[in-house]
Symmetry: C2
Subunit: 151 residues, 2 copies
Amino acid sequence: MKKLQQKSIELRDNNLGRLFQRAGRAYSVRALSLLHERGFSDVKLSHSALFANLDLEGTQITVIAERAGMTKQAMGQLANDLEAKGYINKIKDPNDKRAYIIRFTKLGEKALHAAYDIKVIIEKEFEDLLGSKNVANLQKGLRKLIESYTN
Amino acid sequence: MKKLQQKSIELRDNNLGRLFQRAGRAYSVRALSLLHERGFSDVKLSHSALFANLDLEGTQITVIAERAGMTKQAMGQLANDLEAKGYINKIKDPNDKRAYIIRFTKLGEKALHAAYDIKVIIEKEFEDLLGSKNVANLQKGLRKLIESYTN
DNA sequence: TGATATAGTAAAGTATGTTTACCAAAATAT
DNA sequence: ATATTTTGGTAAACATACTTTACTATATCA
């Protein structure tokens, strides 16, 4: 049997789970930093749960929450925060008096454009570093793993 | 210029940052579930910051905290929690009366063995899914990205 | 020996959620 | 049509995993 010392080192230094998380963290730190540089300095990482699940034609809070895999209460708080910061509007749903429709403001749309530009920039950086074929394979592998483990 | 609708979809569905984070989450959910199945049901994800940075011969709290990139206060809390649960001991440092040395208990070592087994199991699952060469490339790519972005 | 740095703790605050409990409106069932 | 149940949303309390501020005791340096 392998020595515990060796196992400890391999857990620490040679662990795919840790690599995923560190890469994710590196990505989001970089992306958020570029977004702040472009003037959207009050956007936080947690806001992406709303941004990423909001349709351009507008979406109900409950629907966004379900897509993001979180409670409607938590999503309601994100919505209030982003509304106060001017990125979205909460409009009363004309078809359901209980509900609100969340829509991007002009500022929110600008932030979305910027976020897309940043995504492209970071992907370019990755391709310069690894080669575009390797980035494509990385993406394919991650997708396959996620699909397999979240079903 | 690409339509905002299209940009929104690509940000949502075709975003490496989100893939990293989802893969990391899938890994840790799987690993923690297997660890709980093996009887270590009171171990939490946050504990890994201590486990992963504790040398077998024992390590000072401040050193573990620095390795983990967090404050010594936060690490002190993890240490107290894991001590209460029986995974580590806090021993007075004979060379420094201010300091404590953290060491694994027998139970802690058993958990470490289990964690290693689980790492091997999950890697095997990944290789069955993607092929061992692709897993090796994945690992290599992630390492390269992390190294480049955290320096 | 006196000033400063370091190991650790304590308590309060912050970020990002969940749980429990509730209301009003909508959908369904009889 | 009305009673029942479900759904959209909010509010408040709690949980987790930290950081910040403030402190004590010991160690180190000048």
